[in-house]
């Protein structure tokens, strides 16, 4: 997500992005070290109107990023007068967008793909990585489809292995690239100590999966990708988003995974986020959470009984059946999370991960405080 900013002074020489790190902040005045995309230098950035004696180059920042603090990294796009926050030191999980290009075109994509030439995004990431805190807990990569950037993306993972070996790395990929054994092998050859790839599979039926991702033949490639990765003992998580087209065969899908893909390390059953394409398709995709509560519980149990690790993401506890609550995880980032006034009366309020702010209206009718003592979440994992 980029924000509009005002660039003061002469930036005209730069037609690509400039990457900088916030090195100090006093009230509304920040110092930013620019270290990539231009000659190294420090500049001033501020949230309030400028004093008269400003330096030759400065940035006036929009109020919606007032949380910007020391240790954060930004990319500035002088040509269009925008900036993007690449890394927030205070955030528990930072996700880097690797590319907006994707070979799937999912009905509910929250980050709709664009066919653009955005290799610069990888250069920015490569520039930042050596400067990130060595005690970083976790880092994520999303797209688009990161594996479409091939060798250059793998270079980033090798860099992480060497620069931040203690940092867990999670990559979201549609898995299709790994259907080529050589790609799976080069992934395994990285020998990263803590690397997991999250791969979405939406059905036990090829035509349903291919419809949801809008790509014929994707199911076979994704399944083969998972098999190739597991044959090389790579950590794989399966992700399924719950909506009208996945819920119908959800229990059968769970059985299919338990039977055919039992080697995967984790299965995430995920509530729908109304972002991107999902907004346009919400009338088609949205399902009454109570209607599918039983199917969801049975799917989670089927996987759990077969010995897999299972989590339910993105759904408040009150729309889950008691059997399913055991698997619920507080997965929604603070800034996207929503609770309701009624939630203050709920005995499970502190264990509940809430709902997406984006689905606030759709979820509202189903929010009912729970007044009982239930088991603490997720003992199964």
């Amino acid at each position: 997500m980029s924000s509009v900013c005002t660039l003061i002074g002469d930036w005209s020489a730069t037609d690509s992005s400039i990457v900088g790190e916030v090195v100090s902040r006093e009230a509304d005045k920040l110092t930013i070290d620019l270290f990539f995309g231009c000659a190294r230098k420090s500049i001033i950035a501020y949230f309030q109107p400028p004093a008269a004696h400003l330096a030759a180059q400065a940035i006036a920042l929009p109020a919606n990023i007032s949380h910007l603090s020391v240790g954060d990294f930004i990319a500035i796009y002088p040509k269009i007068g925008k900036l993007r926050i690449l890394f927030r030191k205070a955030s528990r999980s930072n996700n880097f967008l690797v590319t907006e290009v994707c070979d799937n075109y999912c009905l509910m994509c929250s980050q709709p793909p664009r066919n653009v030439s955005d290799e610069r995004l990888l250069d920015e990431i490569i520039a930042i990585l050596p400067r990130l805190p060595k005690d970083l807990h976790e880092i994520g990569f999303t797209g688009g489809e990161p594996m479409l950037r091939g060798e250059k993306f793998l270079r980033i993972l090798r860099l992480l292995r060497d620069e931040l070996p203690a940092t867990a790395v999670h990559v979201l990929s549609n898995g299709r690239a790994f259907s080529r054994p050589d790609v799976a092998q080069s992934w395994a050859n990285i020998r990263h100590p803590d690397l997991m790839v999250g791969i979405p599979i939406y059905s036990d039926q090829s035509d349903i999966h291919d419809y949801i991702v809008q790509a014929d033949g994707a199911f076979d490639e994704t399944v083969r990708g998972v098999l190739n990765l597991k044959a090389l003992k790579q950590a794989v998580e399966l992700r399924i988003v719950l909506h009208r087209h996945t819920i119908g065969r959800l229990e059968k899908f769970a059985y299919f995974v338990a039977r055919n893909l039992a080697a995967v390390d984790h299965v995430a059953l995920m509530g729908l986020e109304l972002m991107g394409f999902a907004i346009a398709h919400q009338d088609d995709l949205w399902i009454d959470p109570r209607e599918h509560a039983e199917a969801l519980a049975q799917a989670a149990q089927t996987l759990h009984w077969a010995g897999l690790r299972v989590s339910i993401y993105n759904l408040p506890l009150c729309v889950l059946s008691p059997d399913a609550r055991l698997f619920a995880v507080r997965s929604i980032s603070d800034w996207k999370r929503e609770y309701w006034p009624a939630c203050s009366e709920c005995s499970l309020r502190n264990q509940c991960g809430g709902a997406f702010f984006s689905s606030r209206q759709r979820m509202e009718p189903y929010i009912t405080p729970i007044r009982e003592h239930a088991a603490s979440p997720n003992p199964g994992n």
């Binding site: 035509d207 014929d216 338990a258 039992a262 394409f277 149990q301 009984w305 010995g307």
Partner: protein
Amino acid sequence: MAKFKLPGEFFAKELHGYEFLPFKFHRLKTGRVFVSNIVGEWLVLDKQTFELFISSSLKPAAAAYADLRARHFLLDRDSGVAVDLLTVKLRQRLQHLRSVFGLAIFVVTLRCEHSCPYCQVSRQSDDRASFDMSTIHADAALKLLFDSPAQDIKIEFQGGEPLLNFELIQHIVLKAKRLSEVNGKAVSFVITSNLATLTDDVIAFCAANNILLSTSLDGPPELHNKNRPRRGGNSHQLAADGIARIQSLLGPDRVAALMTTTKASLSRAVDIIDEYRRRNLHEIFLRPLSPYGFAVKTNWFKAYDQMEWLQFYREGLRYIIDLNKCGERVIEVYASTILGKMLTSRPGGYVDMMNPAGIGSRVIVFNYDGYIYASDEARMLSEMGDKTFRLGNLSADSLADLVLTDPLLDAIEETVLESVPMCSDCAFQPYCGADPVYHHATQGDAVGHKAFSGFCNRQMGIFEELVELMDTDPEAARILSSWVRQ
């Protein structure tokens, strides 16, 4: 936004019908048809759907089409991953072939203070050292075990009553733990005991070394004591006290109990299960008698036929499922072993139900007298004079000598179920075991004629019962599915 395509556009336009992937079928008493394939995937179809399917006339729009495709009974042009997935599942199911000697049984003594008429191991009452295992033999057995490729070793102490030679158990446990540290192998221990001679020292030793206990509990006092006589007639009391002490001192899950069905048990399934519940034992293994030892000599084995036992089993299973429906979690172990093979792609680890047979490979038995046997049943048979499955002697033979003997290899090779007459056509074969020792004991041949096999009759009865339950009662199906959790 680019145009999105409609669902139908992702189904291969020119399917040209479908191909069959290999499968077998079995007509159920309900008229419906059970179909299964080589990796154990299965479905129950109504007769009409089944006939459409086998005549290549099932339409993609039919509800069963998607299920048959997902479980790899048919292959169409829309997806080709079925073959990749079948390969992976087959490899998984045969995984157990890589792990040898997961179970090593040490018969530390054949002496016993019980005198059960159904004893399958022909226990000795003489208080003579000639029925105890020697330290030299125990050490040789440990050396053989830890020199073998086994990585994850479970040592089970059997008898007789193994606690009558507790000194040797202590010696073996401590030595095995030292060896496991040196060799980087995992080792765990189980003592199979009637608990009549359970002392505080034994409990303390089990606590210190994380040892599980397994005991016999045949039912309520009068039934148990009738089955398991000992001087004083107090076998039940001692077992129940022992179970309670272990549960309170070592933990509720540190003791398991097994029952053996005698003629007197047949009418008492519910009483037996209630007895387990009374003792806070939530896993019950409804087990028939086996044709070995005194059980044969005393004719107890012949006292009932498999059909009577199956009736008993059905009654017990239904009662256990009803308990679960009322919210009480109780598991029947025989069913859960089969269900593990029906509902997951894991290989089953229970030796009697392995294919190829796990005798001499998955399990090995070190007898009190230094002889080595291919399974617990093999040494039971030997006490009756039939040494067919005796592999060798601890003082004389190397590991290779033992496991490469012809009688063992022949028995395993001949009983691979995919090639056994009647088994090769049986839709329940993926869930069954070979049990060559049983067939050798009852028919004088490791393969046997399955039409006259009590093992086969019993297994078929249980398979049909489980499938019909899952097919007709969704709640029972959920309960049974939950039993596969390990």
